[in-house]
């Protein structure tokens, strides 16, 4: 039985644990055995994005120490995977020993849908959803990791679901971590547009592979369009249909 190490983003751990549980449920259904290192914390993305490289470097080393021996690491967050695969080698470029470990590790870290489709070769996980679904292409998932076909394949495999297009699906939702509250007046306009495109799509739910965008879009919908909601791909695929 294939063993997979769960890389649960801190946002999921603390605020959206259902996404983590759904990830586990889908993996188990496919006969994969998930393990979880309880010493894991945060990948360091907030420090990296704020310019605190020394601090981000410490987070990177902690991550490498914990996950370093795992063969396959899977995470339900594109931006966290991007942090590990893209920014860790850059952060550790002056420390050859650490750099080697970071580079070796980066080839073994997968975004959740990428793992299901590219590694397991699955496109139907046996999920059911009655209704219309539309997909938001999160920036780090699409442009960072180049992942777009994989989630769409999995969506097409959901029984009962109708997939409808989202206008400007690849436009940023306006999250950007601290950008969302430091430049809220710009961020609000961006998320408002995203919400409007979602509503115009006629879909019942919007899905994505990035908890950051989920917090942002759902945060806006909760205030302005409470009848609408965003559901993480893992939850859709688990068939739970429960938002974070």
């Amino acid at each position: 039985m294939q063993k997979v190490s769960l890389f649960i983003p801190c946002t999921v751990d603390l605020f959206l644990p259902e996404i983590g549980e759904a990830t586990v449920a889908v993996l188990r259904r496919l006969g994969v055995y998930p393990v979880y290192h309880t010493e894991q914390t945060c990948c360091g993305q907030p420090a990296m994005n704020a310019g605190y490289r020394d601090q981000a470097r410490k987070a990177a080393k902690h991550f490498i120490n914990i996950f370093g021996d795992d063969d396959v690491i899977v995470s339900p967050s594109g931006s966290c995977v991007y942090m590990v695969t893209h920014h860790y080698p850059e952060l550790l470029s002056d420390e050859p020993g650490w750099l080697r470990r970071a580079e070796e590790l980066s080839g073994r870290v997968y975004e959740f849908t990428q793992y299901l489709v590219d590694v397991l070769g699955v496109d139907d996980v046996g999920a059911r959803f009655e209704g219309k679904i539309t997909y938001h292409e999160s920036c780090q998932v699409l442009r960072g990791l180049g992942i777009s076909a994989q989630p769409k394949k999995l969506l097409a495999g959901i029984t009962g679901a109708e997939i409808v297009p989202l206008f400007a699906a690849e436009f940023c939702c306006g999250f950007g971590g601290e950008f969302a509250y430091n430049y809220n007046y710009i961020s609000e306009e961006m998320v408002k547009e995203k919400a409007q495109h979602f509503i115009n799509s006629g879909a019942d739910v919007l899905t994505l592979c990035e908890p950051g965008c989920l917090l942002n879009i759902n945060g806006y919908l909760s205030r302005h369009h409470p009848e609408k909601r965003v559901i993480h791909m893992a939850n859709l695929l688990a068939g739970a249909g429960k938002e974070g």
């Binding site: 605020f15 442009r143 909760s222």
Partner: protein
Amino acid sequence: MKIKTEQFNEVAKKEIKNEYARAFLGLLPPVISMMRKQVMASFPDPDAALAYGQAIRAEAVTRLPELLEEFEKNACAQGAQILWARDAKEANDMVLAIAKERNITYVTKGKSMVTEEMGLNDVLIREGIETYETDLGEFIAQQLGRPPFHIVGPAINVPVEEVCDLFMKKADMKTATTDPVELGYAARLFLRDKFHHIEMGITGVNMAVAETGTIINVENEGNIRFNKASPRTQVSIMSMEKVVPTMSDAMHLLRLLCRSCTGQKISAYVSMDSGPKKADEIDGPEELFIIIIDNGRSEFYGDFTAREALRCIRCGACLNICPVYSKIGGYPYGWAYSGPMGQVLNPLLLGLDKTQDLYRACTLCGACREVCPGGIDHPSLFLYYRAKDVEGDQKFKGKRRTWKEMRFFDLWTWAVAHGWFWNLGVKWVRPALNRYARAGVIHSMGRFFEGWFKERDFPAMAKKTFHERWKEKEEKAEPPA
């Protein structure tokens, strides 16, 4: 030109409410960027064409010193005079000296961002030399006393009624009209008169070809050609990164530039000057000065990360795709260069201390990186600037952050690096945070994260985190055989 980069938020908050400008800006990402994409598809292999252009720019930046010398040698051999300016003041003084030695009373100009960077117009006017911008948009922006709103359409945000008023007052227009053709005609009459008697024309440079000593200008209005062909004296000003190795490199970049800029395969006019008028030629300037300006670029050229910014060819594709620019327009960036292009260039040229918001007002979405024909990785540069600012780097004029923020990240990092402390921290923070929650949702946290909660909610911290749930259930479960 006054530098207003420190007023980013103030201006952006005002501009984001400008409905007229927003209507235009809203079209940029879906329409203009789509036009670019469609015309890029006319390359047999668009990705390869983009990568080829990026490689040319990479080579040009890496070989910059030798290419500039080669360009100087070949341009001089063609009869051009090359002047090297260390900074804006030196360059302005050069233009002024050329004008004064020839008793020039007025000059006309083609659209040139580097002259905006130098603040050339202000200097010339102060010294009593009338200066006329001849690009229609730039002419309007100049008469209004505003900086360019967009690199390609400097006055595209100005309502036609305002243009009418302006032309009645300042461009000798006789009858009021909002017909764009009539307005264009009025500007043409006014400017043709200036061209008719022109003695000195000033232009920028899109590309300088090292191999041949040729300068290339790209435009759609024909005004740059007038500025180059009509006067006795032509002064063309370029920032030092405009040089490319060969004519064949220039031709490929030209194809990319026009596609990226306006969604055209080729612009209406492309002019190439290899030196001034030769003895057997019937038109062209009698003397050609090419001013190559550094203005701080050599300072960071030694930094291999920062100098990637010099790959920019000023096409504006990044502005058209940027989700932030398309909400606030060009004014908040406060200087010659706006959008992601300005966010990359302005901090290096003006200092990180004076451009704080430029490299922070970005979600790192990477849309600009994807379209950049120069191959600039804008998000990585913004992260680099943020890091240099946090470090208080002297060369880049980093400012350092508040003591409070720095201590916060230190504490946070200690928690991240110590799993047990992190998990203990969760137990402390949860009740403090969830104090604000109603039915599992936080609508406001008072003065904390005000920006977030203005239009958005946030989930309460889970009663049981994933970590706690796992510990309870899964850890006790038997591993599979």
